[in-house]
């Protein structure tokens, strides 16, 4: 009976539910209902079936030897355990997920650094009242007028006005 009773790890559903983003709520609910259904099924089944009262049957069944034969065959019978084919896949999935999450976190950190830089720039900007047009072009490069491409006023294409 090796491998039976592989201990069920306690899953903190509350913490899990907190971390589910809204667009994956449906999948999470499906998983939870599946889990609940399985738990209920498992709880409904007894761990061992009740023992057969061989003495009673020996006393009451008239056919000679039938009960003995049954008893012998019953005690000799070994119910095979179901084979676990999926846990390996789950572990592989977990490794993949770990890798992809590490990458995602890296990218996320880079994004955060970028945002932080932008935020700093905006926060330390001089107030608009004290800016000249040059200062504005420095602070917001997209407002810089392209005097080479458009040498005549308004220094940008008419459709951009």
């Amino acid at each position: 009976m090796a491998g039976r009773r592989a201990a069920l790890k306690a899953v903190d559903w509350a913490a899990f539910a907190e971390r589910v983003p809204p667009n994956q709520r449906a999948m999470f609910n499906a998983l939870k209902t599946r889990n609940d259904a399985l738990t209920a099924r498992l709880a409904a089944l007894p761990e061992k079936p009740p023992a057969i009262d061989w003495a009673f049957y020996k006393a009451h069944v008239a056919k000679a030897g039938m009960v003995d034969e049954f008893q012998k065959k019953f005690s000799d019978l070994k119910v095979p355990e179901p084979v676990d084919t999926q846990t390996a896949k789950i572990d592989a999935q977990e490794k993949e997920a770990a890798k992809s999450t590490a990458e995602y976190i890296q990218a996320s950190k880079a994004r955060i650094a970028h945002y932080e830089r932008e935020l700093q720039k905006l926060k330390t900007m001089i107030p608009f009242e004290q800016m000249t047009f040059e200062d504005l072009s420095e602070a917001f490069p997209e407002t810089k007028l392209n005097k080479e491409k458009y040498p005549y006023w308004p220094h940008k294409s008419i459709s951009d006005l």
Binding site: K9, V79, I112, I126
Partner: protein, 283 residues
């Protein structure tokens, strides 16, 4: 005199300028605004221009004359100069004077009347531009902040993936266990069913034998009832029936009397009410 001074100074200044051709190259490469001092941000420009009195004369002029001539000095100077120009005919009063007077008065009146309005309007335009720029900047700051928070939240969310895989493994384990238990249960049930069937068959057989036996015994008993006994039992039954019917008859007479009394009671009460009613009506 002043103009002669200027005219004399001009050639000296022109000579001071370097000859243009040779220094053209130098001009382009002469570094400007590179010292530390000039890299500092430019101090903000003043909001308002210098103070003026009467719209044209700067306040500094009055301050300049104040130590020597007091408050009335510049006014005396102005009046004196004006009278001097008029009397000596340095400024000649002609028709252009009248035109200038009219035009200037209209201009001054217009500025005094509409000046503040126009200034306010221009200021409002500028204010709007500033406000929109500031709003954009604030929005940008807020959105960046929110983006940073979102990213941090996503990172926190990602930590939950262990739960997912644990749940999946739990599901699998539960499924396997359930399956195993179901199999055990099935075996037990099947064996029990067969054994129970045997026992049930036996009890059924026993029951049928018993019933059959009872029926046979009854049949034999009925057969053994002789005709004499039959006559006697029939006579007894008739007597019993008669006794029963007597008691039933008596009961029937009683019921008849009771119902007669009830109906007469009702009729009497109706009669009494009718008499009273008619009596009332006739009053």
């Amino acid at each position: 005199m002043l103009s002669r001074l200027v005219l004399r100074a001009a050639p000296a200044a022109l000579r001071a300028l370097p000859p243009p051709v040779a220094v053209g190259v130098l001009h382009a490469t002469r570094p400007l605004h590179t010292t530390q001092q000039s890299l500092a941000p430019v101090p903000p420009l003043p909001e308002k221009g210098g103070e003026v009195r009467h719209g044209v004369i700067p306040e500094e002029f009055f301050q300049f004359l104040y130590p020597k001539t007091g408050v009335t000095g510049p006014y005396m100077l102005g009046t004196g100069l004006l009278l001097y120009f008029l009397s000596k005919e340095i400024y000649v009063v002609n028709h252009e004077t009248a035109a200038a007077a009219c035009i200037l008065s209209v201009i001054v009146y217009a500025i005094k009347k509409f000046g503040p309005n126009v200034a306010a309007f221009a200021d409002k335009l500028n204010e709007e531009k500033m406000a929109s720029a500031l709003a954009m900047k604030n929005e940008a700051i807020e959105s960046l902040q929110k983006a940073i928070d979102e990213e941090k939240k996503e990172q926190w969310r990602v930590e939950g993936r262990t739960y997912l895989f644990d749940a999946k493994r739990n599901n699998i384990a539960m499924l396997l266990e359930t399956n195993y238990r179901e199999r055990l249960l099935m075996v037990y049930n099947e064996v029990k069913k067969r054994l129970d069937y045997q026992v049930a068959m036996q009890t059924l057989k026993r029951q049928k034998e018993q019933e059959h036996m009872i029926q046979w015994v009854e049949k034999n008993v009925v057969q053994s009832i002789t005709p004499q006994q039959q006559k006697e039992s029939i006579a007894k039954c008739i007597l019993d029936l008669k006794a029963l019917s007597k008691s039933a008859h008596a009961a029937v007479h009683e019921i008849l009397y009771m119902s007669l009394a009830f109906i007469s009671g009702i009729l009497l009460s109706v009669l009494v009410f009718a008499i009273i009613f008619l009596f009332r009506k006739s009053e």
